[in-house]
Each structure stands twice: as structure tokens, then as C-alpha cells.
């Protein structure tokens, strides 16, 4: 694996050059952008050892850290669960995070967050996150963080790079809430910028697919038909998996507008036989997350022949 700090520095610089950030390059009045305490780094390495997967490498720099791996998954008792934690009160202006998750050959892991990622109000600069996910042969990763909540005037850019061989499976989800819907009179799409890009490659360098979306509610009408319409919550789920799994899961996944539960969802096969993209928009967070969970359950059943157990009451 590359040296995280060096490659993080280089790619973070290129990420911060993105044109959608042009209006937000001023320095915060507080600590400068990327200063100590605002330059988070987290590396999680998983390996398969003696019949189960372990968190074999953990490196971090404040404000990011992770707890030790826990084995509480009744459906897959050998699956390590790791929670990523941000010790700051949410994502602040000028924050720069780099996260690397490496899952070795035949290893399995589940990575999530401790709570929703709150992107705080901003009046200067922006926050940026790089995420690198690297999987080995037959590796299996469930990357299912809690939803992201961008507050009023928040500016956030994320770039995710995924590298995996054909035999590996990655379930990746991103759930975006419209803001603090219960704060004051309710905040919906008042953030300034949410930019997210994902590029997936094979270890040889062949690019399988790329996606970038730039959401600027203050500049373009998110309520337009075809964009969000009357929906508030957006989930983007990507599944990279061998083609046989992908075909069966695609057939099992309904594409529908559900008037009762007030959501719309649909899956599509990705280019180059990479897997499936599944998108959901909904009025309520619960209905959207229930669809993500149902899809996750089908994926785990298909790929690992295991069940996703019931949601904990407190989650």
C-alpha cells in the first residue's frame, strides 16, 4: 500500500482544485484549512487469519479514529464490525479527511459510522474527504455509513476511489438527508454544495465506471421533475460483485414508485459487468433506509448465504 500521508496530500490538493469549489477558497477565521486537528486520517486494514477476519492495521490522526473490531453480527459471527468516529462536533469548514480501507484476500469486513455525519454551517472555505477502498481477491466489504446531513450553507466535496478484482464484492452506500428537518422551522436543501465522485477500477488500472454528482440547491432547482421532485432523501447504493451475483440481484430488485411508502427506487446494471447501481429517493429517511437495508439483506444472502439480523433498537 502507498504511504497514506503522501498520496493523501497529493490527491487532496487535486480534489481541492475542483471547479465547483471556486467560490469557497477563503480561509476560515478559526484554524486554517487542513491545520492540525482538521487534517484527519484513518486507515483500516483487514486480513483473513485463522478462520476469521481481523482488523490487522489501524492508523489514525485526529479528529478521525476507529474503535476496535467487534464481532456482534449474528448473521455473520466471523465478520468484524468497525465504527469510524469523528471526535470533532461534526464536519467543520476547513476540514480535510483521508480514509483508506484495505480488505485483503479472502477477508471480510463491515464498516460504518457511530452516528450521522453532520456537516456544520459554514461561512468560509469548505470540507473535503478522500476515501480509498482497496479489495483483494474474494474480499467482501459492507461499507454502510449512517446518513450525511449537510446544514445550511455547508460546502462538502468527497472523492471515492475503489479498486477491486472481479472476485471481490463491495456494497457501498451513501444516504443524503436534506438538512436539519426538525431544526427551527425545518431546513431542507439549504446547503451550498454537496459534490461526490466515485471511480472504480480493476487492479490492472482498467476503469470500470465513474460517477460524479454536484448538488447546488442555492443555484439550481432541486425540486424540478427528474431531479428530486417532492422527495427529500437520496440514497446511492453501489454493488460491485461477480456478474452471476449481480444478474440475480438485478432480477430480484424491483424498480417502482411506491405511493404508500412515498419512495421511488430503481437499479441498473453498471458498465463493463461491474455490478449494480441502486438509487432511492424518498420523503422520509426511514422508508429510504428500509430499502437500503432490504437490498443489503439480498446481497448478503446471495453472496455470503447469510442473513442480515434485525436492526438494533437504538440505531
Amino acid at each position: 500500500m502507498r504511504d497514506g500521508d503522501m498520496s493523501g496530500e497529493f490527491t487532496m490538493r487535486s480534489l481541492c482544485d475542483a471547479p465547483e469549489l471556486a467560490a469557497y477558497r477563503d480561509e476560515p477565521q478559526q484554524l486554517p484549512a487542513g491545520a492540525p486537528g482538521k487534517d484527519g486520517f484513518l486507515r483500516l486494514g483487514f486480513e483473513h487469519r485463522d478462520g476469521r477476519s481481523v482488523l490487522s492495521e489501524l492508523a489514525h490522526r485526529a479528529p478521525l479514529l476507529a474503535q476496535q473490531a467487534l464481532y456482534y453480527d449474528e448473521g455473520m459471527p466471523e465478520l468484524p464490525h468497525v465504527m469510524m468516529i469523528c471526535t470533532a462536533g461534526g464536519v467543520l469548514q476547513g476540514d480535510r479527511y483521508a480514509v483508506e480501507i484495505i480488505v485483503g484476500e479472502n477477508a471480510e469486513a463491515h464498516v460504518t459510522t457511530q452516528s450521522a455525519t453532520k456537516i456544520q454551517e459554514m461561512d468560509a472555505n469548505f470540507a473535503a474527504q478522500m476515501l480509498d477502498i482497496v479489495l483483494g481477491e474474494n474480499a467482501y466489504l459492507e461499507y454502510l455509513p449512517d446518513p450525511v446531513i449537510p446544514y445550511r450553507d455547508a460546502r462538502f466535496i468527497a472523492r471515492t476511489r475503489i479498486c477491486l478484482p472481479q472476485s471481490a464484492t463491495l456494497l457501498y452506500s451513501e444516504v443524503l438527508l436534506p438538512g436539519r428537518t426538525h431544526y427551527r422551522s425545518g431546513e431542507r436543501f439549504e446547503f451550498a454544495l454537496f459534490s461526490s465522485s466515485t471511480r472504480t477500477e480493476r487492479p490492472g488500472g482498467e476503469t470500470l465506471c465513474s460517477e460524479k454528482y454536484v448538488i447546488e440547491p442555492q443555484r439550481s432547482d432541486l425540486r424540478a421533475r427528474g431531479v428530486m421532485g417532492d422527495f427529500d432523501v437520496f440514497a446511492n447504493v453501489l454493488l460491485f460483485t461477480p456478474q452471476g451475483h449481480a444478474e440475480r440481484l438485478f432480477a430480484e430488485t424491483a424498480a417502482e414508485m411506491n405511493a404508500k411508502e412515498r419512495y421511488a427506487a430503481g437499479a441498473t446494471r453498471l458498465p463493463n459487468g461491474a455490478g449494480i447501481a441502486y438509487k432511492i429517493v424518498g420523503v422520509d429517511r426511514e422508508a429510504v433506509q428500509a430499502q437500503v437495508r432490504a437490498f443489503w439483506s439480498r446481497v448478503r444472502r446471495e453472496v455470503k448465504n447469510a442473513a442480515v439480523t434485525q436492526q438494533f433498537q437504538w440505531r
Binding site: 465506471c209 465513474s210 460517477e211 421533475r225 427528474g226 431531479v227 428530486m228 437520496f234 430503481g266 446494471r269
Partner: protein, 229 residues
């Protein structure tokens, strides 16, 4: 000053009658009407505007890059733009559409105005050396005719709007006159769209239209449909 012949070529290659199969697609409109996301002139206008915005910030950028590659005689640069579009078509329906129309326009170009570049492009598509997307094919048509990237962008935006509006005439209660009024209205957005796309790089290609993506997924799985997926 653009010559009259150039303007006539722009009309020809920007015409919705151009035999590249555009009539077979609705750019997501059929499912939107079936699912009642579109039910009147206002919602149709919004949906067409969304489609044009997505086309400008994704395909439109690659089209401009391919046009510049063609003027520079750099086939590999054109191919990079082509791969970049294809790997961003996560949506199967849009992928099918761009590849079918892309091949047809390459064949058309070789037939009506063969140049070494046009031949080379069609050969690369046939050998599966490049995906052969529609915006890149359209860029080659314009570049090899000596027409500007702005003209190519114009034809592309116009093609997206006429594809959706002519589909709407067959799918919902709307008069030809209303269709023309919408077309005239949305065309006013193209200048700004071109300025932004011309300043962007292929890496900047981005869009956000989740409902349109979901509708396309519903269209692929639906049993009754008039338009191809």
C-alpha cells in the same frame, strides 16, 4: 460569419430527422409519463430542462473535448473522451441509447462525407476498441465538416430537446404548438450551458438527476412501452 452552406449543414446534422434512431428513444420521458411524474405542460418543461442540463454537463463536455481532439488530429484524445462518456453511463437505458445512436452516426458520416478520421473511427467501433458514444460521433461529424464546437453543441442540445418533445407528442395530451413553445423556451438556456461546458474538463462531467435515473430503471423493467430501452 458562418457561410450559408455551413448553416445548412448545421440544419442537416441537427435535424431530428437525421437517421440515427433518435425517434426510438424518449430519454426517460415514457416512464415519467406512465408514473405521472409528468402530467402537464409545466412538468414536461421541467423534465426537458433537467434532461438538457444533464446532457450539457456530461455528454456536452465530452462532445467539445472530442471536437477539439478531432481538430488536433488526435484520435487517442477523441477515444479518451469516448471512454469517459461510456464509463459514466451508469444507467443502462442511456448507455444503450448512446451506443446505438453513436454507431449510426459514425456509419452515416462515413457514407455522406468519408474522411480518413471518419473511417478510422468506425473501424475502432467495429473492433470494440472504443465504445462509440453519440456525442463523440456527433463531434466528429461537425469537426470533419469544418463546423465549430459551438455548432456541434447546438445540434446536440437541440437533438435532446426534440427527442423528448417528439416523444411527448405521442405519449401525452399536448399539441404540436405547445411542443414548439416549450422548444423555443428551453433553447434560450443553451448559451449559458455552452459557456460552462466549454470551460470544463472531461473529469468535471457531473449531473444530479436521481429521479430521472430511477424512471429509466423502471422503464427497463416495464412490460408495456412504445420506446426502446
Amino acid at each position: 460569419m458562418t457561410s450559408i452552406t455551413d448553416l445548412m449543414r448545421l440544419l442537416q446534422f441537427g435535424d431530428s430527422m437525421l437517421p440515427v434512431g433518435a425517434f426510438a428513444f424518449s430519454n426517460g420521458l415514457e416512464a415519467a409519463i406512465q408514473q405521472r411524474v409528468i402530467d402537464d405542460i409545466d412538468s414536461l418543461t421541467q423534465f426537458v430542462r433537467t434532461g438538457l442540463g444533464v446532457a450539457a454537463t456530461t455528454d456536452g463536455i465530452a462532445l467539445i473535448e472530442a471536437h477539439r481532439g478531432a481538430l488536433a488530429g488526435d484520435v487517442d484524445r477523441i477515444a479518451r473522451a469516448d471512454h469517459a462518456v461510456a464509463q459514466r453511463k451508469l444507467n443502462e437505458e442511456m448507455r444503450t441509447m448512446t451506443l446505438r445512436m453513436g454507431r449510426k452516426i459514425a456509419e452515416l458520416l462515413v457514407h455522406v462525407a468519408p474522411t480518413p478520421l471518419a473511417q478510422e473511427w468506425l473501424t475502432r467501433i467495429a473492433r470494440h476498441a472504443t465504445p462509440g458514444t453519440f456525442p463523440v460521433g456527433l463531434a466528429l461529424v461537425f469537426a470533419t465538416q469544418g463546423l465549430s464546437e459551438g455548432h456541434a453543441f447546438t445540434a446536440h442540445q437541440y437533438g435532446v430537446a426534440t427527442m423528448m418533445l417528439s416523444a411527448s407528442l405521442r405519449l401525452m395530451k399536448i399539441s404540436y404548438l405547445d411542443g414548439q413553445a416549450i422548444l423555443r423556451e428551453v433553447n434560450a438556456l443553451a448559451d449559458d450551458a455552452y459557456r460552462r461546458s466549454a470551460a470544463a474538463t472531461v473529469d468535471d462531467m457531473a449531473a444530479f438527476a436521481p429521479l430521472a435515473d430511477i424512471l429509466a430503471a423502471i422503464h427497463v423493467k416495464s412490460h408495456v412501452r412504445m420506446f426502446m430501452n
